[in-house]
């Protein structure tokens, strides 16, 4: 925590010196409060703070709203299947499915105000800002009529809805706040079921609908301690892992039977 505060102070001092330097173009610099999040057995979700500064800010005050900032935190992309049920002979059965080749496993977005108020769809699509603008490519081997745009739209919408319900897709329309003329911050909640792996934090700076600059930073989610040990064992020594599990189960069962015989 201490170095977060140091970083904040540094960030606040920094623009003051650069503004004096001249009439350079605005740009953005940012970072996350934590580069490394440890997943231990007591992990119940956490928050990361993404902060940054607008270089050469011409904003008169924090409330002026000269700039708009979008902070996007994405988990590693992974393939996903969305299935749709329909009624067949009275039973609800998964009849169609659509595979998306790579989709962020986690996607959090925080902005200074709703995205469609400060940027157009083309710009958002190009940068993957906002749920509707995430790149979703259906896999070629999809079993259904992937060509029909209405069907595709239905699947995409369902995908976002389901991810939102799992709290893996999170949106905060006024989640980025300016503190002073150039410093801004946003807190991003990582739920307990956040997929473990690298996260990429991207920060975009807009002014009057134009993208002035962007900045990228990484956050690692890593298993530590016992969690790491168990997970590694399950993958590197699966047979031993299975045997240990069975041994543990059998021992517990026998111990209970023995204890109860004594009691009885």
């Amino acid at each position: 925590m201490r170095y977060v505060i140091c970083a904040l102070i540094f960030a606040m001092l920094n623009p003051a010196t650069t503004v004096l330097a001249g009439e350079a173009k605005e740009s953005v610099e940012a970072d996350a409060s934590t580069r490394q999040v440890a997943i231990t057995s007591s992990f119940t979700g956490t928050e990361i703070l993404v902060f940054g500064t607008v270089e050469n800010s011409v904003q008169p005050s924090a409330e002026a709203g000269t700039y708009d900032v979008a902070v996007v935190v994405e988990g590693a992309p992974a393939p996903v299947v969305v299935r749709r049920k329909s009624r067949v002979g009275g039973l609800w059965i998964n009849t169609s499915a659509m595979r998306f080749t790579s989709l962020p496993s986690y996607y959090a977005i925080a902005t200074t105000r709703p995205i469609d108020e400060f940027a157009d769809a083309v710009m958002l699509d190009a940068n993957g800002i906002g749920f509707q603008h995430i790149r979703m490519v259906p896999a070629a081997s999809g079993r259904i009529e992937a060509t029909d745009p209405a069907v595709l739209a239905g699947f995409k919408e369902a995908l976002i809805r389901l991810k939102e319900r799992e709290r893996l897709y999170v949106k905060s329309d006024f989640g980025v706040a300016f503190i002073g003329r150039s410093l801004f911050r946003a807190t991003i909640a990582l739920p307990p079921n956040v997929p473990i792996g690298p996260l990429v934090a991207r920060v975009y700076l807009f002014k009057e609908g134009k993208l002035l600059g962007q900045y990228k930073s990484r956050v690692m989610l890593e298993r530590e301690g016992l969690e790491r040990y168990i997970h590694d064992a399950a993958h590197s020594k699966p047979l031993l892992y299975g045997l240990v599990t069975v041994f543990m189960a059998a021992t517990a069962g026998l111990a209970a039977a023995f204890a109860f015989r004594r009691a009885a």
Binding site: A78, L91, L162, L243, V246
Partner: protein, 307 residues
């Protein structure tokens, strides 16, 4: 108190899962079933990924059936020879089942197959057990003596070769029916993620005509090994066994199983069958209901890891 599960990758409340383990353990001790047919759907309902639920259940089944089996073994209620014969064939069936699961997954039909087999099997077995149990109960109430096996009664089973003597069950029958039953149960347990007690018990009573007294113990004996084999197979092939989740579930499970076995002593065979029938039917109806009613969301997400 919450704990983060290393394989399921989520944090869970320890108390909830301890209670779940204890409740299912109680039932498995009471009826001599593994309890997998209850545990798997309940875990999925609580949000555990289906593939992890199926695999981890097996470890819980090992624990609760070991303690039940030991209690029965001590009371000489286990026909080890019969269990051994069924088990040998059962392992072959399990290996076959694992291969079929792989084929069904590739074809995208796994989920539906599991639902349909659950509903069909639980429905049919539950109904049969219930009807028979009620009849036996009535029969006994009216003063008669319920005896599932009449001496001197012969059927086609007696004509089969490879006759073996099963002293504990007081049977002299062909080894073929127990092997077929064992293989079938092994096969089903790989597909449904269950120990197979609810198929084994009726099969032993009605097909093999074993004395009711040894049926529960022998069933538990066989389930211990089938479930242990399945746990290892899942760990090696799918890496979906969560040892932390298993530890929580079985801590509750072994204690529940002891109480279940004690409670089971106070029940008569007929009563037990009626109760087991009702329980199995409830699960079948619940699963059938999900297949028939309009789901709240027509869409569902499938990860590519399992299910």
């Amino acid at each position: 108190m919450t704990l983060y599960l290393p394989i399921a990758e989520m944090s869970v409340s320890v108390a909830v899962y301890l209670a779940l383990g204890a409740a299912v353990g109680f039932i498995s001790g009471l009826f001599g079933v593994g309890g997998g047919f209850l545990m798997t759907p309940l875990l999925t309902f609580l949000g555990i990924p289906p593939a992890v639920a199926v695999a981890t259940c097996n470890a819980h089944v090992v624990a609760s059936s070991v303690s039940g089996a030991v209690v029965h073994y001590r009371r000489n209620n286990v026909d080890v020879k019969m269990g051994g014969v069924m088990l040998t064939a059962g392992l072959v069936g399990t290996a076959l089942g694992v291969e079929v699961v792989r084929l069904l997954r590739t074809a995208g039909l796994f989920e539906l197959t599991v639902s349909l087999t659950y509903v069909t099997f639980l429905g049919v077995v539950g109904t049969l057990v219930l009807i028979e149990g009620i009849n036996a109960w009535r029969h006994e109430q009216s003063g008669g003596v319920a005896s599932p096996r009449k001496s001197g009664q012969h059927n086609w089973v007696d004509g089969l070769p490879f006759k073996m003597r099963f002293q504990r069950s007081k049977l002299y029958i062909s080894a073929v029916p127990p092997m077929v039953i064992g293989m079938f149960v092994g096969f089903m347990s790989a597909i449904m993620g269950i120990g197979g007690g609810f198929i084994l018990i009726p099969a032993m009573i009605y097909l093999l005509r074993m004395p009711t007294g040894v049926v529960v113990g022998t069933s538990l004996f066989q389930i211990v090994f089938t479930a242990a084999f399945a746990t290892i197979l899942h760990a090696v092939q799918n890496r979906t066994v969560d040892i932390v989740l298993a530890a929580i579930l079985l801590a509750g499970g072994v204690i529940g199983a002891q109480f279940g076995t004690i409670a089971g002593e106070r029940l008569k065979g007929e009563q037990m069958r009626v109760l087991l029938g009702v329980l199995v039917l409830i699960v079948a109806v619940r699963m059938g209901y999900d297949l028939v009613t309009t789901p709240t969301d027509l869409y569902s997400l499938g990860s590519l890891r399992g299910s």
